[in-house]
């Protein structure tokens, strides 16, 4: 005992103190403590009241006191301090305070001692609890069999609920396990861990068994005795055979019980099962197998989500926006499969914390490096090689992962005998660095850097190159188990460069550059058992160089043409509340308010009011100085959704979302091209506005083995840009005159059946969807199709996808995929005429015909090395055949008049079965 030495000394003075007791007992106490130690409180109390405390410091060191009282008696303060704890106190008449665990010290005999008729009020409190729990603790030592005491232990557990919270981590790598389900079975209460691996579960006090499940991890449980609010960190073991577990996870609970709609999470293991043309695991191609996600062409990875265009997806790589997610024109996606952990797609309910794009959010997270040991991994494919190394910096605290990927296509090109190919070059590389550090239980930092570069040149002539640079720094801070936050800063830059020196007098260098800096703070607060609040602020600064053309040779006669830079700030605040009304009904309502300022310096052309924005109606210009506000756009975005649980295996959900987008991709080509340019909303180009109403029914069949979901949606898009025929978009100083503003609508129904467990797993989906556009100014001569609705380039009504994987053993599995979709629309030639003796064709209304239907079968086989835990290197082989049937699926059709004859052609890119072999290793 801390004060035990003083004890005897004080006994001597007892007599004197007793006299003072009468007067000092009246002394009142004022304290203001926050998470203070008990000792601190004692100091305050002793100083203010003259009482003296006796207690066992080691028993009380876990007690934290948060208290704010004014002018209260010591007794009432102490009652508050020890409320809901096992500690008792007694004060004797000599101003000595005795704090004990469990039983209070009796300082005087009870008044009722001799009155046997009065029921003993204290008897309940002094009930005896058998010490079985402690004995069991000693007998059993493994985490699962151990009984954990959560909260301050007490003699008797009062009825009611308390909150247990903590982190779930991977026992081997120390990485947080995200999306793990933590639940108790009776009553059925469950939550899943958030992005930090944190869970917070409010359950009835008493003895409970927490069950923990997560994909790719071995199921585990913890037995606890819940006395009060407390903390429990849980480590999970990875399931040794990764193939055993299922891969797509919107999580069992989430599908039925979550309020989110149209949200799919894919982990790297699923991605590895989807065969690709070049044998390398491709994140975006896997996303393309999901219902509601389409691409214009099979060689493209520009995503069209639910009838939205490719620029309407917010692609975040560890919170940094990715402008061009592809390598080599879309043959590869920009993400190295070695560092990806998982990807989450939101296509319907977009959480309020995301904004700035209309159609979807694609959140890609890289994994943390191994916190315990150094590990290397890599792969060798037909065209690319990759390598990653990871390991701890400070063991258990911080780790890094460094990964690189490159092509050897240049080497292959040089080997080709065809002269035009051997003079061509095509290559790319990307580098990833991810460092994370856990400062303490409440703070962690993660830093990400990404760099990619593509370079190609045809026949020794024009050279193209483009690069992405991304960086982000994230600080996660937990204020208390109910309140945590994430602070993020991120930087993204995308630039491209086209140059030619073939003819010195015309040698040129064309550049485009966009960058954005983001800062944001996101908070989550578990306000109440029924309410979870998300709120935050964020701001983005854009800097865009829309194009510069400069001579690149001393003899060049080129006049430099440099477009003025553009800059803008986009800021937003949001608040979202998830309200669990009762066990069946859950509501989520969010509002996001965004503000966009287009800033100077800039010269803006002006046009005669009332006339179309055309060069011929230009009447001058207006100059703005640096930082001067040119145009402001602002408005609210609503994110509302509701879920009703019909029974344990069926739920119905409805959601309504509105979104705003202030940045546009200017393109007049069929697919996303690296030479497309981005444009900020300005005085003439209004922000795109979108709204989506969606409803769905979700049902789990056969004891949750099968998940069936049916979702329908209707979507409206305003101010979407389409292009006047034949106008150039790059280096166009009056880009506003080259575009037409359109209104779009999209609707569809998506049916998906997933099987998550067993030897055979995968999914089958069918989508019916339409996507139509119409010029805003329907009477304009530039309005396509006389101002009527016309199908967008990516309008493919029917889509059927089967993704399946069958495990013969832990080491051998087969994947079989089938895809069918309607052909993309094209504009057919309807007539021909003769001009200067040459027949020319003219085209009908835009996008009125369709190219032939698309279907493809892929097949792959995965062989893992043996699964001995201790061996030098783990390896696996993947053999795949892309397009087994060799169907010549047309990517596009076109018509040319050659030597006086109009001919139709169909271009198919992967028109033959493509076999590939990839070797992956890890050591």
């Amino acid at each position: 005992m801390k004060h035990s030495l003083l004890f005897t000394t004080l006994l001597v003075t007892l007599t004197f103190s007793a006299l003072l007791a009468q007067t000092k007992a009246e002394k009142r106490l004022t304290v203001d403590l926050n998470e203070a130690r008990f000792g601190q409180f004692v100091k305050e109390a002793e100083a203010q009241t003259g009482h003296f405390f006796y207690y066992d410091a080691s028993q009380l060191d876990s007690l934290k006191i948060t208290l704010q009282v004014k002018d209260q008696t010591l007794v009432s303060v102490l009652v508050q301090v020890f409320k809901d704890t096992e500690f008792k106190f007694s004060i004797d008449d000599q101003q000595r305070v005795f704090v004990t665990s469990g039983q209070p010290i009796i300082t005087q005999l009870s008044d009722d001692l001799f009155n046997l008729n009065t029921p003993n009020k204290e008897s309940e409190q002094n009930q005896y609890v058998a010490p079985t729990t402690e004995e069991q603790d000693k007998l059993l030592s493994t985490a699962e069999s151990k009984l954990y005491n959560i909260g301050a232990q007490r003699q008797r557990i009062t009825e009611g609920k308390s909150t247990v919270s903590g982190y779930i981590r991977n026992a081997v790598t120390g990485e947080p396990v995200i999306g793990a389900a933590v639940y108790i079975e009776s009553p059925s209460v469950g939550v899943s861990t958030d992005a930090l691996g944190l869970f917070s579960l409010t359950i009835p006090r008493g003895k409970q068994t927490l069950k923990i499940k997560s994909i790719g991890m071995r199921d585990t449980y913890r037995r606890i005795v819940l006395y009060g609010d407390g903390k429990l960190d849980i480590e999970m073991q990875e399931s040794v055979t990764a193939l055993k577990e299922v891969s797509i996870t919107a999580g069992r609970d989430v599908n039925i019980a979550g309020t989110q709609m149209g949200q799919v999470k894919l982990n790297i293991k699923t991605m590895k099962q989807v065969p690709t043309a070049f044998g390398e695991t491709d994140l975006l191609r896997t996303v393309l197998t999901l219902p509601g996600v389409k691409a214009v062409s099979e060689s493209s990875v520009g995503l069209n989500v639910r009838g939205g265009s490719t620029d309407q997806n917010l692609i975040l790589f560890n919170d940094a926006v990715v402008y061009n997610p592809s390598h080599l024109f879309g043959f590869f996606s920009a993400f190295n499969p070695d560092v990806i952990k998982e990807v989450e797609l939101y296509k319907s309910t977009i959480p309020s914390k995301y904004g700035g794009r209309l159609s979807s959010v694609l959140e890609i997270n890289s994994r943390d490096g191994n916190k315990k040991k150094f590990v290397g991994s890599g792969g060798i494919g037909l065209l690319t090689g990759r390598f990653a190394i990871e390991g701890p910096i400070i063991k258990e605290k911080s780790s890094f992962i460094l990964a690189g990927r490159s092509t050897y296509s240049n080497w292959v090109l040089k080997k080709l005998e065809n002269a035009s190919f051997s003079q061509s070059t095509a290559s790319f590389y990307d580098l990833n660095l991810h460092v994370n550090h856990e400062i303490n239980e409440k703070n962690s930092l993660s830093l990400m850097g990404y760099l990619s570069k593509d370079k190609f040149r045809f026949f020794g002539d024009t050279a193209y190159s483009y690069q992405n640079q991304l960086a982000s720094l994230k600080w996660k801070h937990t204020f208390n188990p109910k309140f945590y936050s994430v602070f993020t800063t991120a930087y993204s830059r995308y630039q491209y460069d086209i140059g030619s020196q073939r003819v010195p007098t015309a040698a040129f260098d064309l550049k485009f550059d966009i960058s954005q800096s983001t800062a944001k703070a996101d908070f989550t607060y578990f306000l109440h058992r029924q309410h979870t609040l998300d709120f935050g602020v964020n701001t983005v600064y854009y800097k865009l160089y829309p194009g510069s053309l400069r001579p690149s040779h001393p003899e060049s006669l080129l006049i430099p043409d440099v477009m003025e830079s553009e800059q803008a700030i986009e800021s937003a605040v949001y608040l979202e509340d998830r309200f669990d009304v009762n066990a069946r009904l859950s509501l989520s309502g969010g509002i996001r308010f965004s503000l966009f300022n287009y800033l100077g310096p800039k010269t803006v052309y002006t046009y005669t009011p009332g006339l179309p924005i055309e060069k011929i109606y230009s009447d001058g210009n207006q100059t703005f100085t640096a930082g001067q506000n040119i145009k402001t756009y602002q408005g609210p975005e609503y994110r509302v959704s509701a879920r009703y649980l019909v029974n344990n295996s069926t739920s119905v959900k409805v959601s309504y979302n509105t979104t705003r987008q202030y940045i546009h991709l200017l393109t007049n080509t069929m697919v996303m091209s690296p030479t497309d340019i981005w444009k900020l909303s300005d005085s003439y180009i209004k922000p795109q506005l979108g709204s989506q109403l969606a409803a769905g029914v979700y049902r789990n069949l056969r004891g949750n083995k099968l998940e069936l979901s049916v979702e329908a949606y209707y979507k409206n898009i305003q101010n979407f840009l389409d292009y006047k025929g034949g106008d150039s978009l790059i280096l166009n100083h009056r880009v506003e005159t080259a575009v037409i503003s359109t209104t779009g609508k999209a609707y569809g129904i998506e049916v998906m059946l997933k099987k998550l467990t067993g030897k055979l797993n995968g999914w089958v989906s069918y989508t019916y969807a339409r996507s139509l556009l119409r010029a805003n100014d329907r009477t304009s001569s530039d309005a396509p199709n006389k101002g009527n609705y016309y199908p967008s380039n990516y309008d493919k009504p029917h889509d059927f996808t089967l993704v399946s994987n069958y495990k013969f053993s832990h080491r051998f599995s087969l994947s079989f995929n089938f895809t069918y979709s309607s052909g993309r629309p094209y504009t057919p030639p309807i007539g021909k005429y003769i001009l200067e003796g040459v027949p020319r064709i003219y085209y009908a209304d835009r996008n009125q015909f369709r190219i032939p239907d698309y279907y493809r079968v892929d097949f792959s086989m995965n062989i893992e090395g043996n699964h001995k835990i201790k061996k030098l290197a783990h390896s696996s082989w993947t053999f795949a055949i892309f397009n087994v049937l060799g169907r010549k699926n047309p990517s596009s059709v076109y018509f040319r008049s050659q030597n006086g004859v109009v001919k139709g052609y169909m271009l198919s890119i992967f028109g033959q079965p493509i076999p590939t072999v990839t070797y992956n290793f890890r050591f």
């Binding site: 006669l557 034949g726 504009t827 007539g831």
Partner: protein
């Protein structure tokens, strides 16, 4: 962009497969309307006549010749009051004899059809064209091809927009010489030399150039055509005549859009086709389409001859030696006589017409008037 499309071919070829292009026949479009096409320009040079052709559009699949518009009224009007009436020659062709024009005047065309429709173009400024400085050529280092380029400049820096058309003619010989032919079941000396032919082609490619982004109005080495040696055009003698047109900015944009729509659409990175009509509108019905771009100016032209002797001559062997009766019976293609030892009448050596008759290669035996 053609080059971008090529990249796809390059990348795909890496994995030893081809991004293949297949013929494609679109579904039949049946009910297309017929629209008027006004083709031609006002030649303001004073030396040559101006010609305007009026035809109608037709279905892509229609193989008949284009229907002309007959008995229409074709008038060119100046904004300073002058009017010129074209006279009908026939087959939809209307002509205006050479005359001098006020070059400070802007002109437009007005067409009234027998169907009581009236079409009117925008006013266009007559555009002077500077002469072609030179037509040059460059033989590839491995002698596998030849590139023809053009050079021009406008010292006044006023032309800025150019369009070129060209016509190529080449002389070629056949490897086997035919001295005899069968006529009325008799073998006679060949009347016409069919060993040497001339062939003329007018490719439809729209060639455009602009110096608007250069400090000087100078076109240097603008590519006109690329001729592979394997085409056989360069073995004996080759000639090209290039016609140069100065364009207005609107004219340049029109031809550029037309080229994009009819020559380079459909590739993954090409812009989408759009309806290109021109600078003429129907005044009686604004919804009615009309095709064509009316312009005024004086074209320039230049011809060069070359004999680079590129390519490998076709190699051929005679087929047989036949008696007169057999040769007549088989209507063989005869090369020369063959006198066997002691024979009284000759036999004839025969060959493949593809080796001896130049007309089978698309040319004709008439020497062009401009051929030296």
């Amino acid at each position: 962009m053609k080059t971008l499309l090529s990249l796809i071919a390059v990348v795909v070829s890496l994995v030893v497969l081809d991004g293949c292009v297949l013929p494609f026949t679109p579904p039949e479009v049946t009910a297309a309307d017929r629209f008027l096409v006004i083709d031609g320009f006002l030649n303001t040079g004073g030396k040559d006549s101006s010609r305007i052709t009026l035809t109608y559009t037709q279905l892509v699949s229609n193989k008949n010749s284009f229907t002309p518009e007959l008995r229409a009224q074709v008038i060119v009007e100046g904004d300073k009051g002058s009017t010129f009436l074209f006279t009908e020659i026939g087959k939809g062709l209307y002509r205006l004899a050479p005359r001098t024009f006020n070059l400070n005047e802007n002109f437009r065309i007005r067409v009234k059809t027998t169907g009581k429709k009236e079409f009117l173009s925008d006013y266009t400024t007559p555009k002077q064209t500077p002469p072609i400085d030179s037509i040059t050529y460059k033989i590839a280092a491995d002698r596998s091809s030849l590139q023809i380029n053009i050079n021009t400049h406008d010292p006044l820096n006023k032309t800025r927009f150019y369009r070129w058309k060209f016509e190529e003619t080449w002389e070629y010989n056949m490897p086997l010489y035919s001295l005899y032919e069968i006529k009325n079941n008799a073998i006679i000396d060949r009347v016409q030399n069919i060993n040497t032919c001339w062939r003329t082609e007018t490719p439809s490619t729209i060639l455009l150039g602009s110096t608007i982004k250069l400090t000087q109005d100078v076109i240097r080495d603008a590519p006109i055509t690329y001729i592979p040696a394997s085409s056989g055009k360069l073995l004996v003698k080759y000639s090209i005549i290039v016609k140069q047109f100065g364009l207005t900015q609107e004219g340049y944009e029109y031809w550029n859009a037309l080229a994009k729509t009819t020559e380079t659409t459909g590739g993954l990175f090409d812009s989408q086709p759009s309806q290109i009509t021109g600078n003429i509108k129907c005044t009686t019905n604004s919804q009615e389409l009309v095709f064509g771009f009316f312009s005024a100016g004086v074209p320039q032209e230049k011809r060069i001859f070359l004999s680079p002797a590129l390519g490998t001559p076709q190699s051929c062997q005679p087929l047989d030696t036949l008696s007169i009766a057999d040769a007549i019976k088989a209507q063989s293609f005869l090369l020369t006589e063959y006198w066997a030892d002691g024979a009284r009448i000759p036999e004839y050596i025969t060959g493949d017409p593809g080796c001896g008759d130049c007309r089978t290669k698309g040319g004709n035996t008439t020497r062009p008037s401009f051929w030296p």
